[in-house]
Amino acid sequence: MHVAKESGLSKAIRDAVEAITVPVLATILGLIVGTVFILLAGKDPVQAYIAFAQAVAGTPRAFGETLVSTIPLIFTGLAVSLAFRSGLFNIGVEGQYLVAQIASVVVGYAIKMPATWPPFIAGMLHVTLAVSAGALAGAAWAGIVGLLKALRGVHEVINSIMLNYIALFLCGWLLNNYLRASSGQASSHAVQPTAALTQGLIEGSRLHTGLWIALAAALVVWVILWKTPAGYEIRSVGLAPGAAEYAGISVAKNTVLAMALSGALAGLAGAVQTLGVNRKFFETTAFVGYGFDGIAVALVGRNHPLGVILAALLFGALARGGPQMQAAAGVPKAVIYIVQGTVIFFVAAEGIWRFLKNRKLKAEVKSA
């Protein structure tokens, strides 16, 4: 057989095509399943998709709102993918997100910037403090999981799930006893104006400056993972822990580090969402779902920061378009969850694609 030597560029392109094949196929399958359910609901899919597109990008304001839904997913997608890169499954983003919300509300409310300071400086400093508090809280919450894995060998998935629920109850208790303005309210004190992220990047929408923090976080994750020795160690542990250990890389240390970094990203999601959109902590008995969606975003984005941004946009559009589709075309927004579940399922069951590919190969071999 004749094998031509490939240039670096064409290999990069081929790798990229290979990387996006499964996510794209899974997304198409998800939309097909979604269409089936729209038909089952007795609605016109074309009308539904037009309503969906209108809601997502019909006007500048609509697109701004789509980006608002995208921002937390960029963070949570990055959080899950960074953990994946070190061979860890951080299913605890929901809990890390919650504790970070509390931390950023506390710092955003309790610290008061001197009124004499220039507003720009007071704002920068206060936002930095509140965002950092959230990131630290998320890192600490996830760090517990990393430590227990490194020291006691406990699988991270179980402890993450347990800590999600502990966070849910803990935050409810903190809100009830310490953070409410008055006992009748279902939310905490609002953060000081200096701690709020500015809204209105696109006029009329709530799009806030957290978008820049999200894009910067993606860049930082890329730099850490592929341009620093620490990132090299994290990825080595993910690819082959045995070989990494043999080469003198501490698996235990990197497990804790990767979990903490992943938790910090999850924490950023909570802090930025709080300071940019909610401005306070709302009472909740269930998870918001950004953490679970983050798993989908990471998978569809192939655990690469650029892929995560694109996948977050896809899922952000689904989150934004679903309820609007319900209002405009009468399609139950539940269809969106079904589409999301289907996409994740088909990306997860990668074996299906390998199976189909092999069958095609076998058929070709037979016919040859």
Binding site: L148, V335, V339, G341, F345
Partner: protein
């Protein structure tokens, strides 16, 4: 007064423990066969809906229970095929099924009854000596599960493919078949658990009614050391915690906040896993797809 309170506590505990125990038994069969099943929550949700639906259509709670079990088996079948046949990441597959379950039940609720919050009322599974039939079924099934897992050759084969699939394969045990048994049984039991919520504890389906019970059941699997008798103890403990919380709240006792009762099961499970409250170790091959050598 005290006696009456103890009576209330015991009843409330048994009621709270029942769905947890049924789902935990399901989790045990799946994990013992080597497949992690965090989809218990989603399976329960789908089944709790179908149980009400079947009951609503036929007017019979027996058909309702059957509907729940069949739905559980079918829904877990997706997890089984993805995990066993296509070697998917089992946690991711579980996440997908949990997410889809929320959408599916919301969609069906809307389609069947045209309302978002919940279904109309259906007739409940009857009580026996003041306790729901499901309570007796759950505890009886736990004993049967223990016997099946530890006293039969079928149970030995199931545990073998979860501990060391290669060795089991070598002596002629069909690894894939035993794992299908494990996952589908977990679906049937989680299906019963779902039915026990919607037509045992309540008499209707409520949107998102599982509210994390599938995950508490998962905690009970671990806290009970992957053992049906252990699961009885774990779910009773978690049940006490839940009902004490409710009773304290009703009586207005504020010494211990209700949220602390809520987090107790999860906290205890973490301690158990870390080896502070008796070491608990998962089946060795749990979560690892088996690649047959060619």
């Amino acid at each position: 007064m005290t006696l009456a309170l103890v009576g209330i506590l015991v009843t409330a505990t048994l009621r709270a423990a029942t769905p947890l125990l049924l789902a935990a038994l399901g989790g045990i069969f799946s994990e013992r066969s080597g497949v992690v099943n965090i989809a218990l929550e989603g399976i329960m949700l789908v089944s709790s809906f179908v149980a009400v639906w079947a009951n609503f259509v036929t007017g019979s709670w027996v058909v309702g229970i059957l509907g729940g079990v069949v739905a559980g088996v079918l829904y877990s079948g997706l997890h089984a095929v993805a995990s066993i046949r296509f070697k998917a990441d089992q946690t991711v597959s579980g996440v997908a099924l949990n997410l889809a379950a929320v959408g599916l039940t919301e969609f069906l609720l809307n389609r069947v009854w045209g309302q978002g919050g919940g279904s109309p009322a259906v007739n409940r599974v009857p009580d026996l000596f003041g306790l729901n039939l499901f309570v007796y079924v759950a505890f009886a099934l736990a004993l049967v599960a223990h016997w099946a897992l530890f006293k039969t050759s079928w149970g030995l084969r199931l545990r073998a493919v979860g501990e060391h699939p290669l060795a089991a394969d070598t002596v002629g045990v069909n690894v894939a078949k035993m794992r299908y048994w494990g996952v589908l049984l977990s679906g049937a039991l989680a299906g019963l658990a779902g039915a026990s919520l919607s037509i045992g504890l309540l008499s209707r389906f409520v949107h998102g009614m599982t509210a994390g019970k599938g995950f508490i059941a998962l905690a009970a699997v671990i806290f009970g050391k992957w053992n049906p008798l252990g699961a009885i103890a774990a779910t009773l403990l978690f049940g006490v915690s839940e009902s004490l919380g409710t009773i304290f709240q009703t009586l207005g006792v504020t010494a211990i906040p209700t949220q602390f009762f809520g987090m107790a099961p999860y906290f205890l499970t973490m301690l158990a896993l870390a080896g502070f409250v008796g070491r608990s170790t998962a089946p060795a091959a749990s979560g690892v797809p088996y690649e047959k050598a060619h």
